[in-house]
């Protein structure tokens, strides 16, 4: 079992508005998020000696962490760019920061991701600069447009075949996420939806309809990680990272493994075992939700619901505020907005800090983040623990 140094803590978060950030560049968004995160815990750029950045997918450049460091005027001993894939990267960035701090390379590290993937995409491309996204072009592109929905849909169709998941179950995911987004002022989707709205939404790539798909946005988020010693000196209450895991099986759909060979199950087991807890101990969770199938798969693999029963679990309200384990309380990629997945991690930190206002899970102490990337190619996870509220 990988052990984490228990004396590294998360002390601050910052996010930018999400939506269409016209006239703001990728690096400006990242700098904005960093400033907000530092302000959140009463620090300044002068306190920062470590930086981990994920480059924007729409317009990356080599050495992106240096771009951000230079922009912020940082001259520091530890700087790294990380891109595992999708929402898995956010967990990976915190892991990098924790490692750098516990081995003494820095004391206060900021992890940041942000991009203007909607308003800042190069001409004639869409969303993520998709040639970068997939990686399997030679054996994928000839058969269809490089389209994440269609590739996730292949897993969704197969999942329905193997476990009996129904269209209505995907719909339950969409509705639950929208309900949570309505409690988040920084979510782009503002209108309530019903299962009927879901069923009537236009077909994209069967079994997916429009409301199965996340909504691309511009936005940024940052997290401040520091040594426990420094946090105590500053009188900051930190969030502990109790376990972190990652499992990789493939990248693009052309290399996609069977559902029972995916990395989710071993990742889930190791995540829980390392932290010495089970799903029943988790007060609040965020999981990858680029498409509704991801949520079904995560709930059923991480042990929140039995195979084929995630739809029932959600309809019973267990994943909603007030339920057994509220899930994606910020509205997720489906209804808050989708740029990378860093706001998932921020949501859990804030829930454990008791800073979530209308959507606060009362008494939340143990939180789980599960990220994914590629087409179920990588699963990452983290268990965090907050101070008793």
């Amino acid at each position: 079992m990988p052990k984490l140094n228990q004396d590294v803590v998360i002390v601050g978060t910052g996010e930018t508005p999400v939506g269409r950030l016209h006239g703001v560049s990728g690096v400006e968004i990242q700098a904005w998020a960093v400033r907000n995160a530092l302000a959140d815990c009463g620090l300044t750029l002068r306190d920062v000696d470590g930086l981990v950045s994920q480059q924007p997918y729409n317009l990356p450049n080599s050495g992106y962490c240096l771009t951000v460091a230079e922009y912020l005027g940082l001259r520091i001993p530890y700087c790294a760019t990380l891109d595992i894939a999708g929402t898995a990267t956010s967990v990976g960035m915190l892991q990098q920061a924790a490692w750098a701090i516990e081995t003494g390379h820095c004391e206060v590290a900021v992890c940041v991701h942000g991009e203007n993937s909607v308003t800042g995409r190069p001409k004639d491309t869409h969303g993520f600069a998709l040639q970068i996204f997939a990686g399997g072009e030679e054996f994928e592109a000839p058969f269809g447009p490089p389209s994440p929905p269609a590739h996730y849909a292949l897993y969704a169709q197969r999942y329905m075949h193997e476990y009996g998941t129904r269209q209505e179950d995907f719909g339950a995911v969409a509705v639950a996420h929208r309900n949570h987004a309505l409690l988040n002022d920084n979510a782009v989707m503002k209108k309530p939806i019903t299962l009927e709205d879901y069923m009537a939404s236009k077909p994209i790539a069967s079994p997916f309809k429009l409301l199965d798909c996340s909504i691309p946005v511009d936005g940024g988020g940052a997290v401040v990680v520091m040594s426990g010693k420094r946090a105590r000196k500053l009188g900051l209450k930190g969030i502990r990272m109790r376990s972190i895991v990652e499992r990789v099986t493939h990248n693009a759909m052309v290399g996609g493994v069977a559902i029972d060979e995916l990395g989710l199950e071993p990742a889930a087991k190791e995540l829980m075992n390392s932290a010495g807890i089970g799903p029943e101990d988790i007060d609040v969770a965020v999981v990858h939700d680029a498409f509704t199938i991801s949520v079904i798969l995560m709930l059923e693999t991480f042990g929140f619901a039995k195979r084929g029963e995630a739809g029932d679990y959600i309809r019973a309200g267990h994943a909603s505020l007030g339920g057994k384990c509220p899930l994606n309380t910020h509205g997720g990629l489906l209804s808050q907005g989708h740029f990378g997945g860093f706001l998932h991690t921020l949501e859990i930190i804030r829930q454990l800090q008791g800073k979530c206002g209308r959507r606060q899970v009362e008494g939340a102490r143990i939180g789980m983040v599960s990220g994914g990337g590629g087409i179920f190619a990588v699963t990452s996870g983290m268990i965090m623990e907050g101070p008793a509220q």
Binding site: D124, T125, H126, G127, L130, G136, E137, E138, F139, E140, A141, P142, F143, G144, P145, P146, S147, P149, A150, H151, A153, L154, Y155, A156, Q157, R158, H161, K202, P203, I204, A205, S206, P207, F208, M253, V254, G255, G256
Partner: protein, 131 residues
């Protein structure tokens, strides 16, 4: 499209041009695999040989693509079409596409056979349903 081929992957595409579906077979672990690589993804072996497949298999999964999300103009005239994962009778799975427009009757387990299709200077291994 226009993704460059390596000298290894070119063997696959050249075989398609000749109307043959050829995959690599690892002589160390006796398994065929897809897509073409310079080493076997099961055991790392590099004693590989190209073998011709029967070109038959079953639909492992499918998606009727209704919208070419992303402003891919060249695909718009072709939707709805059906993207498929084919499980070849020899074992490996391929990502491909069914010939023609999407048909509601497609289901997992349907039998298929390779249907080479000319497109943008390449010969592509699409599939068609049989029986």
């Amino acid at each position: 499209m226009n993704v460059p081929h390596s000298s290894t992957t070119a063997v696959f595409w050249d075989a398609c041009k000749a109307g043959q579906l050829k995959l690599q077979h690892c002589q160390d672990c006796d398994k065929p695999f897809y897509y073409p690589r310079t080493a076997c993804p099961s055991c790392g072996g590099t004693r590989l040989e190209w073998r011709q497949m029967k070109g038959t298999g079953t639909i492992y999964s499918f998606s009727h693509v209704h919208l070419a999300l992303g402003g891919y103009k060249s695909w718009e005239a072709e939707v709805p079409f059906t993207l498929v994962q084919i499980q070849l009778d020899e074992g490996p799975r391929m990502l491909s596409r069914l010939v023609g427009k999407a048909e509601e009757s497609v289901k997992i387990g349907d039998r298929v056979t390779v249907a080479f299709t000319e497109r943008e200077g390449e010969t592509l291994p699409y599939f068609r349903r049989t029986g």
